[in-house]
Amino acid sequence: MISQELEYLAPVQLSEALAALDRYGDKAKLLAGGMSLMPMMNLALVEPEVIISLNHLAGLDQIQEDGAVYRLGAMVRHHQLAESEAIRRHFPLLADAAAGIGDVQVRHRGTLGGSIAHADPAADYLTVMVALGARFKVESAGGKRTIEAGDFFLDIMTTKLEASELLVEVEIPKLPAGARSAYLRLATVEGSFPLANAAAVQGGGSTRIAVGGVTPKPFLVSTTSANSPDGGLPDDVPQAVAAACRDIAGPDADYRRALAQVCVQRVVARLM
């Protein structure tokens, strides 16, 4: 139950949204699809004084090809990604990840930018973005900057975004010709957050595998080694995964380490 009074802003221009964000800073929360924010407000885990809805901004819901990259507006909804022929052709792992989020209703509300900015460690997009080497276009009233996906995520629900900044666009470089990609989620029931997930991209002589859900932020393992003769992983990959999982603690630490290895094996197997 959201019981407190709050100010609700529904700007139609990006500049208005940025000005409002500049004015209210930490007191404000940006509302994209609301699939995480609304439950958190219902449970009073966050109690913003101001809500700035991004749902009326023009132009942030586009999927566009632009030379060597694809540009995805921050307000692109999951179902758009899941159903876009261009995404399915160029970045099938992203379409797969989008198609597995929540349920039909969630996929029609939830957005790419919202999920990335919220940075739940188990969220499907985080690993996909890291594996694809995406770049996040960020704007504030004071200016613009670009942050690499690999640098963007800092900790559980913590990113490099400043309170005055808005994630506007995701830029994904096209994969080299003949590249393969895959995405895998291990979730207890359909639509629940995955316990672990992994995204893999192979092409141009290297393999990039991102793993999420087991550590506070996704981690990336890349290798230029050839696969072992039986088609399995090159030896350096499991070692790198183990190193990345070294600090996992808590009652299920061993299980999460094991899931990370399994996810990596299986996502790579899907590349074959």
Partner: protein, 793 residues
């Protein structure tokens, strides 16, 4: 019979599928106000004082209420049934805590405001001075001397203590050819109806009349309780049950918010509504099944069980007027389920803790009884090497054993357990499965076949209870136009029993089902009845409908016999016509008979016959014994449905994920009125059973804080996790109901618990797993696999 036994589509389906049902929250009388409840943030705390002054001044707030006012003006919430015959203790539970909160979420104060948001916002302004007390969070710690006490007046934390010894268990163990021992644990779960609880009350001081709309399973008993709690005459309370979005038992008892809303509506002279938030439902709606079983079994080499010792420890949470604690009694009462077992020692300790009280939930403890007994049989199978179904065949009560008195006092009405298991095996073909299993294993897929039995005694009838009784009432009325109204005391929380009532009435009257309308859930319209629980609606309400409709038909035959100049015994009713069996041309319509009954009361066909066509019957089931002093036993369940189940799972050995591929059940609930709806109930029951076996778990930390208050933390299965169902029926009619019905509403929920354990074990025979703890979440299955692999290497 034309309709009974047929898959007639649900009469209310199109309304509900179209989203056009009316639920409590859809009802908006003029002047409506809203209640929000302040809940204890602590598992155990003394309430030193409450300052409501700031909240009272908040915008939109009309009234703030605390426990003292409730104590001064209302009575405690009555128990659903008398705890004393069950060896339980009593508590006095009010609509608000008086001076102590005993679990996180217990209602401490209430705010009524013009709108819901203002009411919730004002909760933040109520200042409660709590003195935190040591919480009791582990039932076994709670039994130790010196433990903090949930109810200091009791002197200990034991809510129910009940033991029995049959035969000579010690001797059986001394002479045994083999023994096993262990502990199994079923998890704490809850029912999660899609519509949480909610109610609305409106008071007319001039009538005077309190109108109460509740998302409840039993309007008539609720009326009794509201009248008693509020100290008003029962005939000035009108309880209406609109559509209910699932109950599963949670909406059976009277909970704190119901009398609170009613009291406030009278006090304020305006309608007051309360609609529960999902997190409130997880915190306070009531939990179930959290039980540890310490078992020892003695047996012969061939697996024949000669002795059983069971210590049952149930973590029932804080004692309350919710009727969930009775589930621990029923677990104990249902044991040792299907099996002969000549020497039994059974000790039950139901232990109070500072957690949400147990509340009635589908299965009502029978699920846990089936789980432990089936785990014991599997353990004996492993110890003796006697194949798991052979063990069961060796120990089953046989079909000639009925009615069969049991050590707990239970009397099983009828059944054919070996028949059900044999039919299951004929369907599943374990040999064929074993070949598939072998070939798939070579490809790295681990398939397992699980087997279990499930027992679900139904039609609960507790002594001295307003709510839990072995009877119910129906009025059948043929209107002056020949249309039929069936008014029942049983209700439907969305389970479809109204369709069964219409089928039974149409057959007994000989009319088309399209002429029948069923009315339920209104204390001013329907005859006294106890509502919906314990799969009783068709057992009790269906039998009452059959009796009332039969009485009306007999009267119609009297009238028709005069119209047709025939004897009543010569007549048959079918398709809306009453005719001479040997001469179908000599016929009158039911409509014509109704005209006589209502419009020609002084005519030639009505001499000495009472006008109108209406009968009310209250059917009372036998096989219930409430007078131990005269009858030598206490038996509260008249019918005993059961099932043999098998499931096939695929186990992901690397991750512990379990996928249920097939679920087969041979189910016996006696005569089935409507196979379609019976199957639909089984779908729901089995799915809830699978959910509780694989995914669901209410978690508390050591401070008594609940860690699972949302569906993010408490996963329930979706349509994707639901396997392919293969539902087979075996009909062993109950000798105690006119149509042979036994009840199907709870069936299906208990089988998955052992069946899934057994299937996972069967998938990985090299590991010789023995799973003992639910739920079988991926991390738990993975840990069991790791442990077994570690032990092997």
């Amino acid at each position: 019979m034309k309709y009974v036994g047929q898959s007639v589509g649900g009469l209310r389906d199109s309304q509900l599928v179209a989203g056009k049902g009316t639920f409590v929250d859809d009802i908006m009388p003029p002047g409506l106000t809203h209640l929000a409840v302040l809940r204890s943030p602590y598992a155990h705390a003394r309430i030193r004082s409450i300052d409501t002054s700031r909240a009272e001044k908040a915008p939109g707030v009309l009234y703030v209420i605390t426990g003292q006012e409730i104590k001064d003006n209302t009575n405690p919430i009555p128990e659903n049934y008398d705890p004393i015959p069950m060896g339980a203790k009593r508590v006095y539970w009010y609509a608000l805590c008086i001076d102590r909160a005993r679990y996180v979420g217990e209602a401490v104060a209430g705010v009524v405001a013009e709108d819901r948001h203002s009411a919730y916002e004002a909760l933040k302004l109520i200042e409660v001075d709590y003195e935190q007390l040591q919480p009791v969070t582990d039932p076994e710690e709670a039994l130790k001397p010196g433990s903090p006490l949930v109810e200091p007046a009791w002197g200990d934390n034991v809510f129910i203590s009940r033991d029995f010894i049959v035969g000579n268990p010690d001797q059986a163990f001394a002479e045994a050819e083999g023994t096993v021992k262990g502990v199994v644990q079923s998890n704490r779960i809850t029912g999660t109806p899609i519509e949480p609880r909610g109610c609305l009350a409106s008071f007319d001081p001039y009538e005077p009349m309190l109108t109460f709309w509740g998302s409840t399973q039993d309007p008539h008993p609720l009326r009794v309780f509201l009248a008693e709690i509020l100290r008003v005459p029962e005939n000035t309370v009108h309880v209406i049950q609109p559509n209910v979005g699932g109950g599963f038992g949670l909406k059976q008892p009277t909970f704190q918010e119901e009398p609170l809303v009613a009291y406030l509506a009278i006090k304020l002279g305006r309608p007051v509504k309360w609609i529960e938030e999902r997190y409130e439902n997880f915190q306070t709606g009531g939990h179930a099944r959290d039980t540890r079983f310490y078992y020892e079994a003695a047996f012969k080499k061939d697996g024949t069980v000669t002795g059983l010792k069971l210590r049952v420890i149930a973590d029932i949470g804080a004692p309350s007027g919710l009727c969930g604690w009775g589930m621990s009694f029923v677990t104990w009462y249902t044991l040792p389920t299907f099996y002969k077992v000549p020497n039994v020692e059974m000790r039950l300790r139901s232990v109070a803790t500072n957690k949400c009280p147990w509340n009635s939930y589908r299965g009502y403890g029978k699920d846990a009884a089936s789980f432990v007994m089936e785990r014991v049989m599997d353990h004996i199978s492993k110890a003796t090497g006697v194949e798991r179904t052979a063990i069961r065949f060796n120990n089953f009560l046989q079909p000639d054993a009925f009615p069969c008195p049991r050590p707990s006092g239970a009397i099983l009405d009828s059944g054919n357990y070996p028949g059900a298991l044999r039919k299951l095996l004929d369907h599943v073909k374990p040999d064929e499965f074993a070949r598939e299993q072998e070939s798939e294993r070579k490809k790295g897929r681990y398939l397992g076949l699980g087997i279990s039995m499930e027992m679900t005694p139904e039609g609960a009838s507790m002594p001295g209870s307003v709510i839990v009784g072995g009877y119910d009432g129906t009025t059948v009325r043929v209107t002056p136009s020949g249309d039929v109204m069936v008014l029942t005391g049983v209700t439907s929380p969305g389970s479809g029993n109204e369709t069964a009532m219409a089928q039974i009435a149409a057959d007994a009257l000989g009319c088309e089902i399209s002429r029948v309308r069923v009315i339920q859930g209104d204390t001013d319209k329907c005859p006294w009845g106890l509502g919906n629980y314990s799969s009783r609606s068709v057992i009790m309400g269906g039998s009452a409908t059959h009796q009332a409709a039969t009485a009306v038909r007999e009267k119609m035959f009297d009238i028709a016999s005069r119209m047709l100049r025939a004897f009543p015994e010569e007549l048959v009713a079918e398709g809306g016509r009453i005719f001479v069996a040997k001469d179908g041309e000599r016929a009158v319509t039911i409509d014509a008979v109704a005209r006589q009954a209502y419009r020609h009361p002084h005519g030639e066909h009505m001499e000495e016959i009472e006008p109108a066509l209406e009968a009310t019957r209250h059917f009372r089931i036998s096989n219930v014994y409430h007078q131990p002093e005269k009858q030598g036993r206490f038996s509260s369940y008249p019918t005993w449905p059961y099932a043999a189940v098998a499931c096939v799972v695929e186990v992901d050995r690397q991750t512990g994920f379990v996928k249920v591929l097939r679920y087969c059940i041979v189910h016996d609930s006696g005569k089935i009125i409507n196979p379609l709806l019976a199957d639909a109930n089984l779908h729901g029951g089995i799915t809830q059973g699978i959910g509780s076996a694989l995914y669901e778990q209410i978690v508390y930390d050591e401070f008594g804080q609940i860690r699972t208050s949302t569906f993010m933390d408490y996963s329930i299965p979706t349509a994707v996790e639901v396997p392919k169902f293969e539902l087979l029926h075996q009909e062993t009619p109950s000798p105690f109901t006119p149509l042979g019905t036994k009840g199907v509403g709870e069936s299906g929920v208990g089988g998955p618990l052992n069946a899934l354990c057994s299937a996972i074990e069967n998938a990985l025979p090299d590991l010789q797993l023995h799973l003992t703890k639910l739920p079988l979440k991926p991390n738990a299955v993975w840990a069991a696999i790791q442990q077994a692999e570690g032990a092997r290497s």
